[in-house]
């Protein structure tokens, strides 16, 4: 029996890294959304908020697309 510690370590590092990165980027997107909606409520608009939300959510969509690419063997 051999335990592939390198592979185990890689899975650990990549999983934690990807999770934290996606959630942090998404959280910034949510903050942008909150800012945009807050401004809208007061009758103005927050272009910065909208742009921040758009960019962050787009980045998350890209990660999801890569996830689907990994899941579907026909793409490989």
């Amino acid at each position: 029996m051999t335990i592939d510690w390198t592979a185990l370590g890689q899975v650990t590092a990549v999983s934690i890294g990807v999770t934290v990165a996606v959630v942090v980027v998404f959280a910034f997107g949510v903050l942008g959304l909150a800012r945009y909606e807050g401004a809208k409520e007061q009758g103005s608009t927050s272009t910065v908020g909208a742009a921040q939300a758009g960019l962050c959510f787009l980045a998350c969509v890209a990660v999801v697309a890569y996830g689907i690419y990994l899941i579907v063997p026909q793409f490989h």
Binding site: Q10, A34, I71, Q74
Partner: protein, 384 residues
């Protein structure tokens, strides 16, 4: 189709029955947190998950080339042993569903097979070092990795979004949860449906109904996909309650962090060739997300029972598989019929017991406990 003997027909039906229990046992992995936070209505969640499992079944062409991935010696496995192993796996899945504990369907399947092969072909046909390498180590490592990832991500999510408007933050993360939960469902369909396809295909090959090395016929893909999708759609509500409410009270940022962690661990491990249990990964993520939110309550009693269930899943399924294999080995077709009837009777009994305190789409979020006897409902807050 004159190759299809009575025993082969029984194996196919039993494999599909296992596939069904696999689906409804595992709905919770993808959807429990989305249901608990209200990101998706319960019925919508199980519908999405069911459809994605069916899609996943058709997408995965790389059907398992071995029944067990080398855990037992496939050359010594007969259809009778597969049948006995499946009976063990199904019964254990139903028992853990009754008490609402998320346990691994893969471990139940491997346990049942190990027990059946041990009795049927001797302990030499079980590769114990493979059991440690492919089951025991991932079983300990994967929930911990997923839990740590979810913990850090949850902590970061709360830290970052405290400045934001609460309703926008909740809404944003709920939307995100729909995406992350769907990805878990799709990954589940591609992984788990093919286990059953592999078993049916290899059984057909072993009796000469299919040539060596053949892929699964379309009807096998369709049946396996439909069985797991239907199981997912029916929904193991008892397990959904434990995972969404029982372990900890989940809010939408935690749900998003947990599902992202599960997806990341499942996809990375699959990419690196580690077999792991979706159930254990998802449970680890939820515990991590519970710990990551300050002052969030983690019910360690429930978590402890769940871990105990993980530890005994393989031996218990092996025991049932072994007993069934003994009956089939010594009783031939008659023994098979007896095992099938006793198994069906036990399954029916478990379902009847669950009726005493039914949990379904309409009451899944009302409480955090899964009891077998009815207790007066003491409502906890349902809005998260």
């Amino acid at each position: 189709m004159d190759h299809i003997t009575f025993l082969v027909a029984v194996v196919i039906v039993t494999a599909l029955a296992f596939d069904f229990t696999n689906g409804f046992h595992d709905t919770a992995n993808a959807m429990a947190t989305s249901i608990a936070t209200g990101a998706l209505k319960p019925k919508t969640a199980v519908l999405i998950s069911g459809v994605l499992n069916l899609v996943g079944a058709f997408l995965s062409t790389e059907v398992a080339k071995t029944i067990s991935g080398g855990i037992v010696n496939d050359a010594k496995v007969s259809p009778a042993m597969i049948f006995a192993g499946l009976v063990g796996a199904i019964l254990w899945n139903l028992v853990t569903w009754l008490v609402g504990l998320p346990s691994s369907s893969s471990h139940a399947l491997f346990g049942g097979l190990i027990g059946a092969v041990w009795v049927g072909a001797g302990s030499g046909a079980v590769n114990f070092d493979k059991v440690v390498e492919k089951i025991i180590i991932p079983a300990f490592a994967s929930p911990v990795v997923a839990g740590v990832a979810a913990l850090i991500a949850t902590y970061a999510a709360y830290k970052l979004t405290t400045r934001g408007r609460a309703d926008s933050v909740t809404k944003g993360f709920r939307l995100g949860q729909i995406g992350s939960a769907s990805l878990v469902s799709l990954a589940h369909g591609t992984n788990d449906a093919q286990k059953t396809m592999g078993i049916i295909t290899l059984t057909l090959i072993s009796v000469g109904a299919l040539p060596d090395g053949a892929g699964p016929p379309v009807w096998v893909i369709l049946c396996a996909g439909l069985a797991i999708a239907l199981g997912t759609y029916i929904g193991g509500w008892r397990i959904i309650r434990t995972m969404g409410k029982g372990l900890t009270e989940i809010q939408s940022p935690q749900g998003f962090a947990a599902e992202t962690a599960s997806t990341a661990v499942i996809l990375t491990s699959a990419h690196m060739g580690f077999a792991l249990s979706t159930t254990q990964v998802a449970s680890g993520s939820i515990l991590g997300a519970g710990l990551g939110r300050k002052l969030a309550e983690v019910r360690w009693g429930v978590a402890g029972r769940m871990v105990a269930a993980w530890l005994i899943t393989l031996p218990c399924a092996a025991l049932v598989g072994g007993i069934s294999a003994a009956a089939v080995k010594h009783g031939g077709n008659f023994g098979t019929i007896v095992v099938a009837l006793v198994g069906a009777a036990l399954a029916a009994g478990i379902v009847l017991l669950s009726r005493r305190n039914p949990i379904h789409a309409d009451n899944v979020n009302d409480h955090h406990e899964v009891a077998i006897r009815t207790t007066p409902p003491s409502h906890v807050d349902t809005a998260a």
